[in-house]
């Protein structure tokens, strides 16, 4: 006997009235599908044949107005709302942990404006980012947001967790690229951030919603910068005697120039890369760098890079590796190439200033390798800033526990240990994957008293707490 | 006619791929029915008339789905001989286990007229099981067959040898081994798949066959692998012609160099 009587159907018809019958689903196939995103735990759970966390209603809205009405209904009944883009997030940010509504944004995928004069492009946020990039390419431009999930995630997804692309070192993160946004607030009001981000009319509201992971509102439209395709792109590989030298050289380069790509690998990762390039094992720390733009400038910049590298005993390894890496940059993510269940793995992705970064690297490596036998730790620095860099540090365990609940516990312990080691040494727990469900519990530790600012925003904007519960520590 | 077909599940060669270093990747290989066994099975399905076709395979219990797909193609009965004790069997131990299984089926159920096998499996490539099985069952045999007909109580078949095709005749019961592709195997029908869902796969273990441990598997095998060594995969240092004209000139040189 069902004890919820006919309330389910009453809500369902109300929602159907907003978006149309064909855009509301309670199909089992949908419920299973939306319960598994790219988060390791959700995948492991499905691998064990366990039913995933399920939503009650899956909605495919077509306009911001429809979303506005949906949020009003959700507030009235106090139904949780989980916004879903591509579902390719690795932090479990889109999972319908509290049941209720999944709001799949992908039907809102229209190009709204291409402004060649201002060199911007505006689109609905349900568009898969690759589509936006292709639209830019059609006119000879690029958004220069080229993450590994380019083909998987949506515009909204990239904004919601403050994503980053492989060219970020020159062109910036998504928050540097976004000009303005349209947002549906939890109470159903549709607001716009100011037309341009650089102003002195108070704080930049874009930066409150970028990275809010669907907890403060739903981004429905966004405008981005467009860049000219570079006339010239030059790759160069360098081998440093150790990670310390590599980091110093990287810092020096960043404080003088703007490479588009700068990747520095730790000794564990270097060994396998170098073996692929020259066929023999060689110890050290490998750097892959790209400079791009007007050829005359790039030539000069490359000379400067060489001078800097020489200062830190770096050895020139030629351009072949870089070009090959660029060509195959996403092939790593296809099945058969990437780490797969039943392995347990995670990318800790810590960001810090140059003063602390190396200390953090060693602290995390030691904490994980000494506490968890059978766990490997490899890392590289792939996104650089003038003041610091991030560590893309991965742990891999080939034989995790068979029992799914035990596996979850171990997974969370490894994360706690690694991330706490980072925080204790002045690092920030995440650079560009987001918080989601995975790191939610650690947000208060990270923020301290500053957390009340986020909590205050949450309380004011979403008093019923319906927006993506359990995520982002809110 | 009542026919027994012995089949083996083998790693699919078509699915073998190489990684970037040109090393064969084995983890993605799936098990398929050995191509020559497919031919034997199709020949059996065509010859059976009012009789029956029984498929026997020795292997891992995971072969269940593959056997079911054979039931869906018109096989009447599928027998899976599976037991940890059978692991590591060489051809002689395999033939011995199969012969005991065949005898047990013959006693319990209707007798058989013909046993068909593939001429060899693409993994081991020995082709020794059919003759060994024939001797153990005291039956005449012919290997490497490309065509079989049944004519007035006689089997008429073509056998491929290095120097040509032999036409042969023999009586039943007998064991015949067929060449791959001689009879392309039909697909499953929808009706067959529906029927197959409800059919039982007969599973036989060592004990059920009354075999002693030392008669089967690694223990019952006269031959033993002492060592396995890798072999270079044959990568060569290729020179690519700068243009087609250069390529053509080099090709002419190469052909002229071959002593004929």
């Amino acid at each position: 006997m069902k004890c919820n009587a006919f309330m389910n159907d009453m809500v369902r018809s109300e929602l159907e009235d907003i978006v149309g019958v064909e855009h509301v689903s309670t199909r089992e196939s949908d419920k299973i599908t939306y319960g598994v995103d790219y988060f390791w735990i959700s995948r492991m759970w499905a691998d064990k044949g366990q039913r995933p966390p399920q939503a009650d209603y899956i909605l495919h809205p077509g306009t911001a107005q429809e979303i506005s009405k949906i949020l009003k209904v959700a507030n009235y009944y106090k139904i949780p709302v989980h916004t879903w883009g591509g579902g390719s997030g690795s932090q479990g940010g889109a999972l319908p942990m509290a049941g209720g509504i999944i709001l799949d944004m992908k039907r809102m995928n229209k190009l709204i404006e291409f402004d060649e004069e201002s060199r911007t492009i505006t689109a609905e946020t349900g568009m898969i980012f690759q589509q936006l990039e292709w639209l830019a390419n059609e006119h000879g431009y690029s958004t220069m947001h080229i993450p590994s999930c380019l083909t998987c995630g949506t515009i909204g997804g990239a904004l919601a967790h403050r994503g980053i692309g492989i060219m970020s070192t020159k062109y910036g993160k998504i928050d540097d690229m976004c000009i303005n946004m349209e947002i549906v607030l939890p109470n159903g009001d549709i607001m716009n951030t100011l037309p341009v981000p650089k102003h002195a009319a108070g704080p930049d509201l874009n930066q409150i919603f970028i990275g809010s992971e669907g907890t403060l509102g739903i981004i429905t439209k966004a405008t981005f910068k467009l860049f000219e395709q570079p006339e010239n792109r030059q790759f160069r590989g360098f081998m440093f005697p150790n990670m310390t030298a590599g980091l110093s050289a990287g810092r020096d380069i960043m404080q003088k120039l703007k490479p588009s790509i700068l990747r520095l690998y730790d000794e564990a990762e270097t060994i396998s890369i170098i073996k692929k390039i020259i066929g023999v094992e060689k110890k050290g720390s490998f750097m892959n760098l790209a400079l791009e733009g007007d050829k005359r400038i790039v030539d000069i910049e490359m000379e400067i890079v060489r001078d800097i590298v020489a200062k830190y005993d770096g050895e020139d390894m030629g351009f072949e590796y870089g070009e090959k890496w660029y060509e195959n940059r996403i092939t790593f993510f296809y099945p058969g190439n990437i780490m797969e269940i039943p392995q347990m793995f995670g990318t800790m992705d810590t960001v810090a200033d140059f003063k602390n970064i190396e200390k953090i690297y060693w602290a995390m490596k030691n904490a994980i390798e000494s506490n968890f036998p059978g766990v490997r730790f490899i890392a590289h620095c792939s996104h650089w800033y003038e003041w610091g860099t991030m560590i893309y540090d991965r742990f891999i365990m080939d034989n995790p526990p068979q029992d799914p609940e035990e596996a979850i516990r171990l997974h969370n312990q490894i994360w706690n240990t690694g991330v706490r080691a980072a925080m204790e040494n002045g690092g920030v727990i995440n650079d560009h994957h987001g918080i989601g469900l995975k790191l939610s519990r650690l947000m208060k530790e990270q923020y301290g008293p500053a957390m009340q600012v986020l909590e205050g925003l949450k309380k004011t904007l979403d008093p019923n707490g319906i927006m993506n519960p359990y995520k982002l520590g809110l | 006619m009542n026919i027994i077909v012995c089949i083996k599940l083998v790693p699919s060669v078509m699915n073998l791929t190489m990684d970037q270093e040109y090393v064969m990747q084995r983890d993605r290989v799936v098990q398929v029915i050995n191509p020559a066994d497919e031919a034997a099975l199709e020949a059996a399905l065509r010859l059976k008339g009012n009789g029956s076709v029984t498929v026997i395979t020795m292997g891992k219990p995971s072969g269940d789905d593959e056997l079911r797909s054979l039931l869906a193609r018109g096989v009447d009965r599928a027998v899976l001989i599976t037991d940890k004790a059978f692991a590591g069997a060489d051809t002689y131990a395999t033939a011995r286990t199969l012969s005991v299984a065949v005898n047990s089926l013959g006693n319990n159920l209707e007798d058989f007229d013909l046993i068909l096998c593939g001429r060899r499996a693409i993994d081991g490539e020995t082709g020794q099981v059919p003759p060994e099985l024939a001797i153990l069952l005291k039956l005449p045999f012919v290997t490497n067959i490309t065509k079989i007909n049944f004519n007035q109580g006689k089997i008429v078949c073509s056998r491929r040898l290095e120097e040509g095709i032999e036409e042969l005749e023999l009586g039943t019961p007998a064991i015949l081994s067929l060449c791959e592709y001689s009879y392309p195997l039909r697909l499953a029908t929808i009706l067959g798949l529906q029927k197959a869902r409800r059919m039982q796969i007969i599973t036989l273990s060592r004990e059920m066959l009354g075999l002693k441990k030392e008669e089967c598997g690694l223990k019952g095998s006269p031959t033993r692998v002492r060592r396995i060594t890798g072999q270079p995969q044959g990568i060569r240092n290729v020179t690519i012609a700068k243009n087609i004209d250069e390529g053509i000139a080099r090709l002419s040189e190469l052909i002229a160099e071959v002593p004929l």
């Binding site: 064909e22 089992e28 196939s29 949908d30 299973i32 599908t33 939306y34 598994v36 790219y38 995948r43 499905a46 064990k48 044949g49 039913r51 495919h60 879903w84 579902g87 390719s88 799949d104 992908k106 039907r107 995928n109 898969i128 690759q130 589509q131 292709w134 390419n137 059609e138 999930c149 083909t151 998987c152 995630g153 996403i330 993510f333 296809y334 099945p335 058969g336 190439n337 797969e340 | 699919s12 699915n15 993605r28 799936v30 098990q31 398929v32 789905d65 079911r68 797909s69 193609r73 392309p184 039909r186 697909l187 499953a188 029908t189 929808i190 067959g192 798949l193 529906q194 197959a196 869902r197």
Partner: protein, 359 residues
């Protein structure tokens, strides 16, 4: 009951997000279930004990089998393998969507998906070296296309035969219920009919059917003794040999590569050569050749017209972003699917009709 091969592909695809941006259905519905990973996930869950029900079966039919995902996969996985096999499962378990069942009934009654008497066409000779295989879509729905290509063959002095009773090619049945013996038997009958004609070359009008004959028939041991060629490459060849000399016409057109020519047969240039020969200015869509976005198919239109309308609109959006006012197509299926959704500022023309007017 899924084959090991199918399982290998579902296990690989279930947690892979890389090709979803290419799915013509997913791009327009925005539904997560319309991605290759979702279909693989569902089937992998079925393999782990989840019930294969009407709902999951339905999901397997929300796919055009266009092969964009397969084409994208750098590690060689192919979602169409398990989608097709899941359709077989749906047929076996009596879980076919009603609309699909109706089409299967049509095929068993009349040999074509429409359930109508297929119109008859006659060639210029009873036993010519060239056999024109018209196919059910063109025969039933695109008579002008058939007339145009026949007229072109006559103008080029190519005697040709059309089978009096043209058997089905098994293309549609194979897409509906997967590659089962019933489908192979249909293919075998078709191959036999073609072989009996004694033709040396079979010119196949519908690229879907050409693909089946060229790529599936050999797998199923249904050998066609003649060379199977697509109508597009055959006609392009006639122009190249000077047997057809088109007059120049002016205009700006764009061309949609259908899935089979684009990805399975890898045939991209013949049509472009024909367009150039007529002096038309070809404006390429950004996604062309192997990357062309599928516009739907006649089969999808037959069992899920609303979905086919969406996929067609999706492709028209790409057309709309070009400066061309005319979309040129060569496939009777594309003509039917795209032709049903022409935006007001654009028009759609069949290449053979255009060429026939120019010759």
């Amino acid at each position: 009951m899924m084959s090991q091969n199918s399982k290998k592909h579902t296990e690989a695809c279930r947690f892979c997000w890389m090709c979803r941006h290419l799915c013509p259905v997913g791009l327009t519905t925005g539904r997560e279930v319309n991605t290759p990973r979702a279909k693989a996930l569902l089937l992998s869950m079925v393999d782990r004990g989840e019930k294969f029900d009407k709902d999951i079966a339905q999901a397997m039919y929300e796919c055009v089998l266009c092969g964009s995902c397969t084409n994208d996969c750098v590690t060689g996985f192919d979602p169409t393998i398990f989608i097709r096999e899941a359709r077989t499962m749906a047929a076996v378990e009596d879980l076919l969507p009603k609309a699909v069942e109706e089409i299967i009934t049509n095929i068993s009654n009349t040999g074509n998906i429409y359930g109508v008497q297929k119109p008859k066409y006659t060639g210029t000779a009873a036993k010519a070296e060239v056999l024109l295989y018209i196919g059910e879509v063109a025969a039933c729905k695109q008579p002008t296309l058939v007339t145009a290509i026949m007229s072109l063959l006559k103008k080029a002095d190519i005697p040709f035969t059309v089978l009096e009773e043209e058997p089905a090619s098994a293309t549609f049945l194979g897409d509906l219920i997967g590659f089962v013996e019933e489908v192979r038997i249909q293919a075998k009958d078709c191959a036999n009919a073609i072989n009996t004609s004694g033709a040396k070359t079979v010119v196949v009008l519908d690229s879907y059917e050409a693909t089946t004959m060229k790529q599936r028939y050999p797998e199923w041991n249904c050998t066609i003794n003649a060379d199977v060629v697509t109508a597009t490459s055959f006609i392009a060849g006639l122009i190249e040999e000077g047997k057809l000399v088109p007059k120049k016409i002016t205009g700006e057109v764009t061309y949609h590569d259908d899935s089979r020519l684009a990805r399975d047969l890898d045939e991209h240039e013949p049509v472009r050569n024909i367009i150039k020969a007529m002096g038309l200015n070809l404006q390429e869509m950004f996604l062309n050749r192997r990357m062309a976005k599928c516009c739907g198919s006649e089969l999808l239109k037959a069992y899920a017209p609303e979905l086919a309308a969406l996929t067609a609109e999706g492709r028209w959006e790409d057309v709309n972003r070009t400066t061309a006012d005319t979309l040129v197509v060569v496939s009777p299926q594309v003509m039917n699917v795209m032709g049903a959704k022409v935006p007001s500022a654009k028009q759609i023309k069949d290449l053979y009709v255009l060429l026939d007017q120019a010759c």
